[in-house]
Symmetry: D2
Subunit: 128 residues, 4 copies
């Protein structure tokens, strides 16, 4: 389980007074970037040294409560399954220990030309 | 079926060279706004006259091909089901008549305090 | 003078109820992209065939009135001066023929490695 | 002087491979929000208890170097001048102690209806 914390700024909200719905996906992406970095890699390294990018293939998400300006949110990311060329995550967002957003996300490993490729072995090991 | 066309600008892309994945949800939201307006309502009217907002409850989507800078995209929106307080849409995005993104979205009708409410009758009629 | 029209969507607004201040710069960039295209070039062509990108060097802007959800805005772009490796624009935004935002923007021509370069002659001619 | 640190994510970049130019303004806004909070106020408090918002009136900025994916940036914010209903900031962005963006920003105090108003006295004191 990887935890990532963030604050909600004006840029994240819309005139409905709450966080704009697409921006929860930004929050999960920030969490995934920090997860990769916590595993000991940078996105730039993956790109330059491994000819490898992880791109989102599928998102399945539900909005439970609205986040608001100045909220402190926690993204909890959990790897569910690692396959040859893809992996699956559960990423839920919490405010004050209460879940407000849940998502299931499938990431695919591609080379820098966008073709699917096997996840490099040492990265797959860490993801597992 | 409602069609909405848009152009991809720098703001929509990321350093992977393609449209940032969360921005496809912005595109579907622009399409929904225009769909509501085509039905004869404005979002402001819904808010002020009907005490009603449509918010996204669930998204289920798949990324098939990457959109790029200057692409012209078409969002095809189709209402699948209208219930008392919610409706379901299929929103697919096309480039040159080829599908690149597909989504299934559930919208909920809420009042301006965020409480779920019945979809106003004349709007429900038009959605059906 | 180049005119470009746009609609304000939820994504452009913030919880203050108006368009988020950084997004006016997005609007001016959309207008510049369309201006380049109206001159007969695409950004991709500039990049691929001319090894050339225009990047923003300076912005000087003033916010006069707030734009709101569903507003229709007009961006008026006027080239003020074309130099060897840069050009200067005045880009003002109007709602119902009333100015709400004014900006003065300096663009620099760079190659794809980010080094400043002379504006290609046929483009410079058209900008003038 | 208030310092605020941030990381550059995919969402901040564009297909030019660098941070999208409007997003530097997001970074300065995050810094201003944290500055206000460091002074002992929340934006929600200002809104609810003081009927007061600070909105951007003018931006004057220069782009010196491009920020990239995964960069760690520092926003240095310095209040230059506090007037009755407005204040002026210098906000510069650094990477590895080298300046990459500089800006001069004028903020205006308005009430929740958007009308300019005097900065509440205890806040003005702290800003000074």
């Amino acid at each position: 389980m990887f935890n990532f914390s963030l604050k909600v700024y004006y840029e994240d909200t819309d005139s409905g007074g709450v966080v704009y719905y697409a921006n929860y996906l930004k929050f999960t992406e920030r969490a995934r970037t920090n997860m990769i970095q916590d595993l000991g890699f940078t996105l730039n390294q993956l790109h330059d040294d491994y000819d490898c990018l992880f791109i989102v293939k599928k998102v399945n998400c539900e909005y439970l409560q609205s986040a608001k300006l100045e909220d402190i949110l926690e993204v909890h990311s959990k790897i569910i399954q690692v396959k040859n060329a893809s992996f699956e995550l559960e990423q839920n967002i919490y405010r004050n220990n209460k879940i407000i957003f849940q998502s299931n996300i499938i990431m695919v490993c591609v080379n820098t030309k966008g073709k699917p490729k096997k996840i490099p072995e040492n990265i797959a090991l860490l993801l597992r």
